[in-house]
Subunit: 354 residues, 2 copies
């Protein structure tokens, strides 16, 4: 039986032996530094051909160790299961590829301990930089990154110990709330003639800014807001679902308008709203700070703030590209408003809901 390509692991030494040359020559040829060494065309060809034939693949653990560069870039996200973070991963992948870095995206489930543990692990693999999105404890993450001198940027949720690029939450909430007000209709019951903010976490900056925008805009339109109307029930769909159910029985129906803090909150809200007669839902005006393609065509209209994922990550990568020295800045990127159809399922049938 003819001797086929060797069964061994195939290192540059094997290649060198086959090509009757040395490992350093092979190494130089295989990673483009051979010009500098003025290696003969003929050797280059020979080695390349052999590499091809034996399907040689460099061992990046070894290379990384030697060069103290891994070619790895990390990103942590709360979850893969919503379209905002899905888009983040997609764009991150692309931008990493453009830099010939290997992207690693890991979800940390909004759990500080898991965030820290994951980041430590990524650092132990010698990632070259890290993008921290939607972190519950960004400063905790920064602490470990700084200790290990790993460049990192917060995205979506800011921290105080590293540059952050986030959505212009205040502006976005302002616009969204203005829409909410102008599209809404006076409710018959006075206790229901109000606007409610639902979801998010009172402790996080994004939520705080969104609430501020919400409140200020309502105030400017002469709507009072008390703490009853702010219901930061967290980042679980089920929590939003329960909270809106609770609100419903409390005020005896849906309110005039609903501001959902994120797409996950919207998901929870939809689960509850599904159980109600549609005409009732359509009398309530609904918006969400986040966008989802299917949510643009729900049975009731939803106005959404679509984040500029490209803008967010372009800024984040720019900071990573520049390396450690980056200033502790806070960069705000504007999202854009996607209006729901003026009317839900109702008016398609010529019904008036006024």
């Amino acid at each position: 039986m003819a001797k086929t390509t060797s069964d061994r692991k195939s290192t540059i030494y094997d290649l060198a032996a086959l090509a009757e040359t040395s490992a350093s020559t092979v190494s130089a040829i295989l990673n483009g530094t051979w010009q500098k060494r003025r290696i003969s065309e003929e050797t280059v060809r020979r080695v390349r051909k052999l590499a091809e034939k034996t399907k040689y693949t460099v061992n990046r653990q070894a290379r990384g160790l030697r060069k103290s560069r891994s070619g790895l870039i990390g990103m942590i996200i709360p979850t893969h299961e919503d379209r905002f973070f899905g888009a983040m991963s997609q764009v991150f992948d692309r931008m990493a590829r453009e830099r010939t870095l290997q992207p690693i995206v890991v979800s940390t489930l909004r759990t500080p301990a898991l965030e820290i543990e994951t980041v430590r692990r990524l650092i132990s693999y010698q990632i070259e930089s890290l993008i921290v999105t939607g972190a519950t404890d960004p400063d905790g993450v920064s602490k470990v990154c700084r200790h290990h001198k790993v460049t990192h940027v917060n995205v979506d949720l800011p921290g105080t110990k590293a540059p952050s690029v986030i959505s212009d939450n205040y502006w976005g909430a302002t616009q969204l709330t203005a829409t909410l007000v102008s599209r809404s209709k006076t409710q018959t019951s006075s206790e229901r003639d109000r606007f409610y903010f639902l979801g998010g976490a009172a402790s996080d900056y994004a939520t705080q800014r969104r609430i501020q925008g919400f409140t200020d805009t309502l105030a400017a339109a002469s709507f009072a807001v008390d703490s009853e109307q702010i219901r930061t029930c967290g980042y679980e769909a089920s929590a939003a679902q329960a909270e809106i159910g609770h609100l419903y029985s409390q005020i005896g129906g849906l309110p005039r308008g609903l501001f959902l803090a994120s797409s996950v909150s919207l998901e929870g809200a939809v689960r509850f709203l599904k159980t109600l007669p549609l005409d009732e839902v359509c009398r309530c005006t609904i918006c969400s700070y986040d966008w989802d393609p299917f949510a643009t065509y729900l049975r009731f209209p939803v106005h959404m703030m679509r984040q500029d994922v490209n803008g967010l990550l372009a800024a984040a990568f720019k900071i990573c590209d520049e390396g450690l020295a980056a200033a502790k800045q806070l960069l705000e990127v504007r999202p854009h408003l996607v209006l729901g159809d003026r009317d839900g399922g109702a008016d398609a049938f010529g019904l008036s809901l006024a």
Copy 2:
């Protein structure tokens, strides 16, 4: 100024020097093999404390090189931007964590060249196994994995050169089509009184099986199907959008029923259907092979096959756990049917569309 923790990189040698012991002792202590070496409690404590204090973190490139194990496990997916693959990533993350492996998920955009290139790259990082989901060229991927002796499994789209675990596409399509038929209403125009399959790729196995289930079920219900009715326009939302538009003008309206090949196709379809009067859309019965939480409450009802992501990946991991020797089996996991509400926005207003 007091001397604080050293500024250097911190290796086990530094630690050894500080603890006045040797690198091998430190190594043994830090990764639990110290019992075997009968190292004194006292030394263990001293070293541990120092490691803690200097925040020592192992360099896994070095460890991996030495042990020829990386602790890395890879998965490729077509895209992060749909809920099916989002769920895959989420579950993959969890299952990898349970095995203390570092997950790496990369999207390959249904592009064979990118699939191969990505997998090569992952292999060069010495991943220990690979899950290949929705690959356009699974056998191409298998070829490179086998050469490098990397255990791998196809998921969602099967290959012939590695074990595959996929959705029970035929069964699923059968159930979904039966629903489509039973819920649909006779159309006034005879050329529109038919069922259409939209999306997917004629070249892939999943699509073929789904079409088979679709066709067989229609035949059993005495509906003829000709090739006109099968429109495998690919995996882009925009393609589905265009195709359904085309169909619409071709047959002068919507057909009796629409079978969308995946959630991406559904996304495209929704974009087009949005432009139509709702009562018109509601006269067409629609289903999709894939589930999305928001699609459960669109203005028109959609029946969906929800894949068993946990089941799929549990089976895939089992094969990876067993290592290289795995048989070239094909495992089918049943999805489950999620019925749309019997009626869309229409009947909520007491309108009859018959």
